[in-house]
């Protein structure tokens, strides 16, 4: 009996050591120690033995099984090790070859700046309001305190669809629409597209502006300067601040033009600021009481400020884009830079 077991062990040893694949090894495992293996059928003979011989017999069979298991485990480890070494040899990597790329898309630089403006003002509790591009004279002129004989109403400055219908010349129209619908407090910006009948190197017939309007009790000129400076610092850098030059807009009183320290030279003077150290950025002022009266807002109780800035201009300054026309040419060699 012992001999028979030894025979099984020897044949298992030689066959297992011959194999080189894990798959074959699995088959050998079931052949030698599986449920239907010779060894296991040998075990069944135990019932025919006298009782006192059974434990010794069982132990012997189990020992043999254990030995074969160990051979299989050793063999498995060897095969895996050699497979692993083969892998190392075959998987040659040239670290300098390019990786699989996903094509890089891009947002338009105007959109990038537009979003940044929105996010800065949203973080300061402003809402973003929208209004139509195709407007009537009331919202574009009358409600903004622009008299009928004002030169701005001239055909040569404004695109008209009909006598009373035009393409808005500024996003201040949205201020009017918001004040028509909502009672103060109001705290909005309205970014959007505006149109003016001109087309040259520095003027585009369609351009983008953002207007801010704040109306509440106790809103002051100091708030206006404060918010504007916070915005400029967040948009450009800590070094940038603004100065106001007295000016005229029909819908604000007092009115001012906004200059900011040149973002290119920080005030030292360069070709972008034409040596002055300052850049013109837009207009601002306290909402004219006439505008409130026209919209039935109590101009004694409420005060407000408004300002408007050019989004395209901010984009050009921010990304150092030299020519406004590049913004609307949509050359992907330009677009993909952003």
């Amino acid at each position: 009996m012992k001999e028979e077991l030894n025979k099984i062990l020897e044949s298992a040893k030689s066959e297992i050591n011959k194999t080189g694949s894990i798959h074959e090894l699995q088959q050998l495992k079931s052949r030698f120690i599986g449920k239907k293996s010779g060894l296991m059928s040998f075990m069944k003979q135990i019932s025919s033995l006298p009782k006192e011989e059974r434990p010794a017999f069982g132990q012997l069979v189990n020992e043999t099984k254990q030995k074969i298991t160990n051979i299989i485990l050793n063999c498995e480890a060897e095969i895996k090790e050699s497979d692993y070494k083969k892998t190392l040899k075959s998987e040659f990597i040239d670290l300098t070859m390019p990786g699989r790329k996903h094509e890089k898309g891009s947002l338009h630089p105007i959109t990038l700046v537009w979003r940044e403006i929105e996010d800065i003002f949203l973080s300061m509790g402003f809402d973003v309001a929208e209004g139509p591009d195709v407007e009537d004279e009331f919202h574009n002129f009358d409600a903004l305190n622009t008299p009928p004989d004002h030169p701005a109403r001239n055909l040569s400055d404004t695109f008209y669809i009909e006598n009373d219908v035009l393409l808005r010349a500024q996003t201040s129209t949205v201020q009017v629409r918001v004040m028509e619908k909502h009672k103060p407090p109001i705290k909005i910006i309205s970014p959007g597209r505006c149109y003016r009948n001109e087309n040259d190197a520095s003027h585009s017939p369609a351009f983008h502006q953002v207007e801010a309007l704040v109306v509440d009790e106790g809103v002051t000129f100091a708030d206006l300067r404060d918010i504007l400076n916070i915005f400029l610092k967040k948009m450009f850098s800590e070094n940038i601040s603004s100065r106001f030059r007295p000016h005229f807009f029909p819908f604000t009183e007092p009115s001012a033009e906004i200059d900011i320290i040149c973002v290119n030279c920080l005030g030292k003077g360069c070709n972008i600021c034409k040596g002055s150290g300052w850049l013109e950025m837009g207009g601002a002022g306290m909402v004219d009481p006439n505008v409130f009266d026209m919209l039935e807002i109590d101009s004694e109780k409420y005060t407000g400020y408004a300002f408007g800035l050019g989004i395209d201009r901010i984009a050009m300054l921010k990304f150092k884009i030299p020519d406004m026309r590049m913004l609307f040419a949509n050359d992907v060699r330009f677009l993909k830079q952003f």
Partner: protein, 796 residues
């Protein structure tokens, strides 16, 4: 801390139900953790009468009683020595409960017992277990015990914030409520009569650690009788979760619960040297405490001692060597104040937490010690008798001056926007026993009562004012605007971002268009896009109208870029289009238009370049629609004339066309001089928003059983669209078939003309069981049979 409604009512005449009281407390800053009805647990215990008593034939100590419960006579076996005929007793009938113990019918030594005659301990009324509780003869038979004994009350478990030690007593809570409800606070009236003997003749006090014991007041009463407390006192203590012990100890606990300041009573006869010494412990000094543990002390610990031994761990626990027992006749009453940090340290170190340490840890006031000493003495004289010795021994080395805090009414308004006149502000604070000392213009000087050490600055007074005014009674100004269309705002950003991450570059074109552009796109005269806004004074003919589609602009961008050698293009524009027919102004809508041409991906050395095809554009459209929560979308052949016939699709959502996509007809491409294959899509975003609200996902439970996957492959006529095939499969068993994924389409000359081979991967799973092979095989057979019947498929 636990308080009881009835006890609270002793100091303030409130008339609120427990819900209302809870709310008042909560909004004045005292959180109610739980409310408990007291007497509830004795609901089924009734007053009975023993009408007959005989001895148990089998047991000497037991007797057989016949108890009248008001409706019936029951046999009850009782073991108490004091039970006798004609007694009124507390009877627990079968089915009632005593704590967790349920009364059942039992047999005791062969005799049946239908209920139980209870002792005070069993009823939770006292520790007395010497015998059954005997009630007065006039106790009404059959009535509930709890209501007869007036045990019905409501207790409130309060969470007291650490800054308010004054609320650790019921009077403190009553004081806050009196300020809040503007009701008078009824403090106990205290008057004391003492005998001739002076305390100094009997006792000496030495405070050797005044830095840890800022005050110690000792009083003495001789000749007291220690016994059980009267019912009213026991009831009060039980209601707040304290166990009655004896009259003197109960009184110290009662006064602690009243004023929030603990006291202790010593047995005078056990004080060696007739001395009270407040001192630090010696190392290794031991004290056997009332909790039956012996604690070993060390040098920094503070103890109360007599001439030879420690008699209490100061402010934490008394010693068993000097406590009040039934033999006690002369008592020393301690009312003191200890350094809170030291109490906390010792209590942590020795792991002892008592009602006393809990309070001393929170920085009590020195002045209260004097008051509670009087109050406790008064009650002891009333209840336990005896004679009060004249005077007190009082160690109070550093009495503190009363604090004055200035309040500016203008500051109250500035911080809280509460506009109240000075009179109202003063009345709020006077309700809390702050005393107005002086009044100047916009300056109110308040003297702070000793029990409110937490009020030291103006801002503390302002907090009290708003607490009494009510946080939620402060008027708010509606500042929210709701002007913004947040959904459209963020959805537009999302669409842009998806396209950018898929390799698209955004273009921005002017809003002007050439009327001829619409002709080039073969847009019919009747089409909505022909209703354009014409500009009266345009820059030129090619800028004469407002655009009604974004396609011409993006075509021009494509031409320019290809001209510059950029042949792989993915462009999009998200912008307004304009329609004008009868409207005064114009209808303005946001459109999203995209264009794809050239190879799908940048050149990659490992793979062959793949040209963009129909399914690439469909893929991006599907992704955009999914991001807008659109799922049930249909695709039908587009009638747009600018698509190559058969290669354009309209997107249908709820019967509305919300956009289209497909391959630009090469004939039209040529008119733009575009030689490359161009794919385009255009979506009307505003139309989508008007058709569907923003949807938020709601959680669905995740499948517990693993899914089973099977492939299915067959040849089918091209007349059947994928959507219909999938429907047939799903319908076979919609509960089990979770997904049908197209795996492969195969068309070749080996398959007959007009047919294609499709391979699907099917996903099965069940919410309730693991699916067996047999079940899946049968299901597959049914699916195949259904497909054969409807589409005449051939299996591969």
């Amino acid at each position: 801390m636990r308080i009881s409604y009835n006890w609270l009512k002793q100091y303030i005449d409130i008339n609120l139900n427990s819900k209302e009281l809870e709310e008042k407390l909560t909004f004045s800053g005292i959180e109610v953790e739980s409310i408990e009805k007291i007497g509830e647990e004795l609901k089924h215990i009734i007053i009975g009468k023993i009408v007959e008593k005989t001895s148990h034939p089998q047991a000497d100590k037991l007797s057989i009683c016949r108890v009248d419960d008001g409706t019936d006579i029951k046999q009850v076996i009782c073991g108490a020595p004091n039970c006798a005929k004609n007694q009124k007793i507390a009877f627990a009938p079968v089915g009632s409960k005593l704590g967790e113990f349920k009364i059942k019918k039992v047999k005791l030594r062969g005799e049946e017992s239908y209920g139980m005659i209870c002792s005070e301990q069993e009823l939770g009324i006292s520790d007395n277990h010497d015998g059954i509780m005997i009630l007065p003869d006039d106790a009404p038979l059959g009535k509930g015990l709890a209501s007869y004994l007036n045990l019905e009350d409501t207790s409130f478990e309060l969470e007291i914030t650490p800054n308010r030690p004054d609320l650790l007593g019921i009077i403190g809570v009553a004081r806050d409520l009196s300020a809040l409800l503007k009701l008078p606070l009824n403090l106990p009236k205290i008057s004391l009569k003492s005998g001739k003997k002076k305390i100094e003749e009997a006792l000496a006090l030495e405070n050797e650690a005044s830095e840890l014991c800022s005050r110690y007041v000792a009083r003495m009463i001789e000749g007291v009788t220690i016994c059980e407390s009267p019912a009213w006192l026991k009831k009060r203590l039980l209601a707040v979760g304290l166990r009655p012990i004896n009259n003197v100890v109960d009184i110290t606990n009662f006064v602690m619960m009243e004023y929030g300041h603990p006291l202790h009573a010593f047995d005078y006869q056990n004080l060696d040297g007739k001395k009270i010494i407040v001192r630090r412990a010696k190392n290794e000094e031991k004290i056997p405490a009332l909790d039956e543990e012996t604690y070993t002390l060390e040098q920094p610990d503070l103890i109360i001692a007599d001439a030879s031994k420690p008699i209490a761990i100061a402010g934490i626990i008394g010693g068993v060597n000097s406590h009040i027992t039934s033999q006690t006749t002369d008592i020393v009453l301690e009312a003191a104040n200890f350094n809170y940090a030291n109490i906390r340290r010792i209590s942590r170190k020795l792991k002892i937490s008592t009602d006393s340490s809990y309070r001393f840890e929170r920085n009590l006031s020195d002045e209260t010690a004097e008051i509670i000493s009087k109050r406790a003495a008064q009650l002891i004289l009333e209840i336990a008798g005896g004679t009060l010795l004249q005077g007190t021994l009082d160690s109070f080395p550093n009495p503190q001056k009363t604090n004055i805090v200035t309040l500016r009414p203008s500051r109250v308004e500035k911080l809280l926007t509460i506009k109240e006149d000075d009179k109202t502000l003063i009345s709020y604070l006077e309700g809390l026993e702050l005393r107005l000392q002086k009044q100047e213009k916009d300056k109110l000087y308040f003297e702070i009562p000793f029990f409110r050490k937490d009020l030291t600055r103006e801002i503390d007074l302002i907090e009290e004012i708003i607490r009494l005014h009510g946080y939620n009674n402060v008027e708010t100004f509606h500042k929210s605007q709701n002007i913004m269309n947040k959904r459209s705002f963020y959805a537009r950003r999302k669409l842009q971002d998806i396209l950018v991450s898929s390799g698209f570059s955004e273009v921005i074109n002017w809003s002007f268009a050439d009327p001829k552009d619409l002709d080039s796109l073969n847009i019919p005269e009747s089409d909505e896009r022909r209703n354009v806004a014409k500009i009266k004074n345009p820059l030129g003919n090619d800028f004469a109208i407002m655009r009604s589609t974004l396609l011409p602009g993006i075509f021009k961008n494509t031409i320019l870029n290809i001209y510059h050698g950029q042949k792989e293009l993915k462009l999009f524009e998200l912008n307004k289009v304009f329609f004008r027919k009868d409207e005064k102004l114009a209808t303005e809508k946001y459109n999203l238009t995209g264009l794809l041409t050239g190879n799908l991906n940048p050149i990659f050395w490992k793979e062959k370049p793949k040209e963009i095809d129909f399914y690439d554009v469909k893929g991006i459209v599907e992704e955009l629609l999914t991001s807008l929560d659109l799922v049930d979308v249909d695709y039908v052949t587009s009638k747009e004339n600018y698509f190559q016939p058969g290669s354009g699709a309209n997107i249908i959502f709820r019967k509305n066309c919300i956009g289209n996509f497909g391959k630009l007809d090469p004939k039209i491409a040529q008119t733009y001089s575009l030689e490359q294959t161009i794919f385009i899509f255009e979506l009307s975003i505003d139309d989508i928003f008007s058709l569907q609200e923003k949807r938020y996902p709601t959680y669905k439970s995740i499948a517990k059983f693993p899914p089973v996957l099977r492939d299915l492959s067959f040849v089918i006529s091209k007349e059947f669209m994928l959507k219909d095939i999938k429907n047939i499969i799903f319908k076979t068993n919609p509960k089990i078939i979770k997904n049908v994924v197209l795996f492969d389409e195969f068309i070749s000359n080996k398959i007959k003309e007009g047919y294609r081979s499709l391979t699907f991967s099917l996903v099965f799973s069940s919410e309730t069981k693991t699916l067996t092979d047999e079940f899946i095989n049968n299901l597959l057979k049914t699916i195949i049979a259904n497909l054969e019947k409807s589409c005449n498929i051939e299996m591969r």
